[in-house]
């Protein structure tokens, strides 16, 4: 009853006071971007607020109405806007026009480490660098460990490769992007996530549901975009060191520099090594594969009066060696795992601005080369991939900024050759293929008083999958100034590659039975969400509920139930789906003490062994808790994360036990230096026999793929971040 009253009071106070919110952007001849620290004064009421880092602001209306909002920012012409109570549902989008030359606007850390954007029509969860600091680690897959939406797990007990899942589906069903450029696709999808350091990231956007058609056709469960640090806003020098008790060392360096008035350069370098030989469960196998990784990224940005550009080149090399403790490169005796992977990519993004302020043409181009080879025991695998990508996007408005339109064309070319061996004998499963995918897309976005909508469609002509039409629609409706409802529905598809998509299943003696034909995977995703923001005792909080349903009309599944000695790859028609419900609550329970609670239920089913049953090794439920505290002088921050997973179903029957993961970290901040120390898996939860048949790795029973919880026990790590601005 008390809670009901409290919620009712919240609604009432928000309605009665009339809160106005929106975003301020600055437009000059080069671009339009969010402006921070714009002075926003409500003239009648006499109140003043400043816009946040991302340009957003909130201000309470006074009694006198209509009132006038005054926007003042250095370097821009001031603007006035008359507002009334009816504007409280509106997400105001105010664009200030540059008054003179382009001024330097320094964008630094965002205020909130984690949150769902109020202004976006799509359900987008944003993680910023403040969030990555909560778990001082290391690579992309690990940067999701303080997050309930994305699940991180290990794909097999030999390589230690980590994989991520969104809406209960593997990462291949989520479109991954590096600043709107396709990322970690093809051969990279198996091991690539662990190569990119988290300290290079500026932010991550997680979109649930099919997302925008502008970005491509592959976002079946969702879309994850990684924004790296930008040359213009990077520190002059950033150094990061990490060391853990299991013999893993990382060194990450980054630095930005201004080359001329219009050119900036950013350089990123990273080296990581795992050299600790551990076999705590005494099964004769290394608990973690040894590895050496080098990664370089150099990027340039150009900002001119009529165009801007981002150019870059990235290269990395990744080597792993795992398996039995006796197995080394010099004496490859016994069961071993090896991986050698090299990657080179170049990308460019250019934007040309039309005469009208909102008119622009964007060109995104990328070329990627990947070479990979390795083995699991007697099973070799190798692959070579060349990929080209081009996307042209035209942006404009129809009469007013309330009606926006995007249209364009994309083209992809792929040449992929790959090979993988069976456990006994030389039979080959592999495929060479060449893909040509021209596509066209158009999207209309409407931003109204309470309602906003994004409706779009794309058509792609794939040389192997045929013509594919992907319509998508997203709606947001502000039920109250603090309560947003969203709906999404859309079609997405991809051409699977059963070898790379399931590479870790090679870590077993099971024969692979290849699919009969290469068919595209096609799904419809519908979803709904409610996000309630509130302020209680002057501290902000939010409550969100969402549900997503993905139905595959075609899916290629790995059936591990039909035969005990084989993995059967099957094209299922209308026989697989995923339903995911998530509830999340966040609130600052005391000054500086933030609490986040989440519950997730996922029901992922397909036809395995003739029965419509749950996906193997996937927990149906997860509980997530995060408690973060920062002292008032910001010298110390503390973080505690606990995740509880329910039991998983094992192939061929049986259940894996439920488990919980507890992580904690302390950070001490100085002017330029941060020191951190933390622990992972502090409850020391381990799957004691992660490898079935470890005594006889070349026997028929050997299987290192029935893995669901950690292999290694408690871990302690420490490190530093040093920054010169």
């Amino acid at each position: 009853m008390k809670i009901k009253l409290f919620i009712a009071a919240l609604f009432w106070s928000a309605l009665a006071l009339g809160q106005i919110r929106g975003v301020v952007q600055g437009a000059d001849s080069v671009q339009t971007k969010p402006l921070k620290n714009v002075k926003i004064t409500l003239l009648g009421a006499g109140t003043t607020v400043y816009s946040n880092e991302d340009g957003t602001f909130e201000i309470l209306l006074g009694k006198q109405q209509p009132d006038t909002l005054l926007f003042v920012a250095k370097g821009y012409r001031s603007d006035r806007l008359v507002v009334t109570r009816s504007d409280r549902f509106l997400a105001l989008n105010v664009v200030l026009v540059s008054g003179q030359l382009v001024q330097e606007i320094v964008v630094s850390k965002q205020k909130d480490a984690h949150g769902i954007s109020k202004l976006k029509t799509l359900h987008v969860e944003e993680l910023t660098s403040a969030e990555f600091r909560k778990a001082a680690c290391c690579n992309l897959s690990e940067s999701f460990e303080t997050n309930a939406t994305v699940d991180v797990s290990m794909s097999d007990a030999i390589s230690g490769a980590k994989k991520i899942q969104l809406l209960g589906l593997d990462a291949v069903y989520t479109q991954l992007q590096f600043e709107n450029i396709p990322f970690l696709r093809g051969l990279e999808s198996a091991f690539g996530m662990s190569v990119i350091p988290g300290t290079w990231l500026e932010s991550i956007q997680i979109t649930k549901g099919t997302g925008s058609v502008v970005n491509g056709y592959e976002s079946m469960a969702g879309l994850v975009n990684f924004e790296f640090k930008k040359p213009k806003e990077m520190p002059r020098l950033g150094l990061n060191l990490y060391q853990n008790r299991f013999g893993r060392t990382e060194l990450n360096l980054q630095g930005g520099q201004q080359l001329s008035e219009r050119w900036h350069m950013g350089l990123f370098a990273s080296g990581a090594a795992v050299y600790g030989n551990f076999d705590d469960n005494n099964d004769g196998f290394r608990d973690q594969a040894l590895s050496n990784t080098f990664n370089l990224l150099q990027r340039f940005s150009y900002q001119g009066p009529r165009m801007e550009a981002q150019l870059g080149v990235q290269a990395y090399a990744d080597q792993k060696i795992g398996g039995q403790s006796s197995y080394t490169k010099a004496s490859p005796v016994g069961y071993g795992m090896q991986l050698a992977s090299e990657h080179l990519s170049v990308f460019s993004k250019t934007g040309f601005f039309g005469k009208k302020p909102a008119q622009s043409l964007g060109v995104i181009a990328q070329f990627k080369y990947q070479n990979m080879s390795g083995l699991y025991g007697l099973r070799n695998f190798s692959g070579r991939e060349k990929r080209g990508y081009l996307n042209l996007i035209y942006d404009d408005i129809i009469y007013t900024a309330d009606h926006k339109i995007k249209a364009g064309a994309s083209f992809q070319a792929l040449s992929l050759s790959q090979w993988a061996g069976q456990p006994f004998g030389a039979e080959v499963v592999g495929a060479d293929r060449t893909e040509w995918v021209p596509g066209l897309f158009a999207e209309y976005a409407y931003a109204g008083n309470r309602l906003s909508a994004v409706v779009g469609a794309r058509y792609d002509q794939h040389n192997l999958a045929g013509g594919q039409f992907s319509p998508r629609a997203h709606f947001k409706y502000a039920l109250t100034p603090q309560l947003d409802a969203r709906l999404t529905a859309g079609r997405a598809w991809r051409l699977p590659n059963f070898v790379v998509d399931n590479l870790s299943l090679l870590a077993s003696s099971k024969t692979w039975l290849a699919p009969q034909a290469l068919q595209p995977e096609v799904s419809w995703n519908v979803g709904a969400s409610l996000v309630q923001g509130f302020t209680f005792k002057k501290r902000k909080g939010s409550l969100s509920l969402d549900a997503y349903y993905t139905r595959f009309s075609q899916q290629l599944v790995a059936d591990r139930d039909s035969l005990s000695g084989a993995v059967v790859f099957k094209n299922l028609i209308d026989n697989s789906l995923a339903t995911v419900l998530q509830a999340e609550f966040s609130y600052a329970i005391l000054r500086g003490l933030d609490l986040r609670l989440a519950y997730k239920f996922q029901d992922v089913r397909a036809l395995f062994n003739g029965e419509f049953q749950t996906q193997v090794l996937l927990p149906r439920q997860r509980i997530f808790t995060n408690l973060g505290y920062q002292t008032r002088n910001k010298r110390w921050s503390y973080d505690l994360t606990y995740s509880r997973y329910s039991a998983v179903r094992l192939p061929q029957g049986g259940q894996g036990s439920p488990w919980g993961l507890l992580n904690a970290q302390v950070t001490r901040n100085w002017k330029q230096l941060e020191l951190y120390a933390g622990g992972e898996n502090l409850l020391n939860v381990m799957q004691y026999h992660p490898i079935i048949g470890a005594q006889d790795p070349f026997g028929e029973a050997f299987d290192a793929t029935e893995l669901w919880s950690p292999i290694m026990g408690w871990n302690v790590y420490f490190g530093l971040r040093y920054t010169i601005k």
């Binding site: 400043y50 250095k74 320094v106 002292t631 008032r632 002088n633 002017k671």
Partner: protein, 108 residues
């Protein structure tokens, strides 16, 4: 029991705490969020400071500090040395030049 505790606190606690820390208000020349971050970081990292919080509207920074370890002049000098005015003390001109545009005089 409660009464005893409270009276103990009143007798010993309050004077003890009062001597240990002090809250000072310094009028600064801060203009934007960047200034706020710079001022708070510099003061929070200074010797003897418990915490520092700047109000951008009034440009006044609240500093809680330990008088045994620092004093008003030292805290004002922290601001002066990073390019800000502190009450009647003028900012160090070299440090002021190095500040970003929005913190320069007339920046807002």
């Amino acid at each position: 029991m409660k009464t005893i505790l409270i009276s103990f606190l009143l007798l010993f606690g309050t004077p003890l705490f009062a001597q240990k820390t002090m809250v000072l208000q310094i009028q600064t020349s801060a203009q934007c969020g960047d200034c706020k971050e710079r001022i708070e970081t510099a003061l929070n990292q200074a010797k003897g400071v418990v915490y520092a919080e700047l109000n951008l509207e009034t440009k006044v920074v609240d500093v809680k500090f330990k008088p045994a370890k620092t004093n008003k002049e030292a805290l004002q000098m922290v601001l002066v040395n990073i390019g800000y005015q502190a009450d009647d003390k003028k900012a160090n001109p070299d440090a002021l030049k190095a500040l970003p545009l929005c913190c320069q005089p007339g920046g807002h």
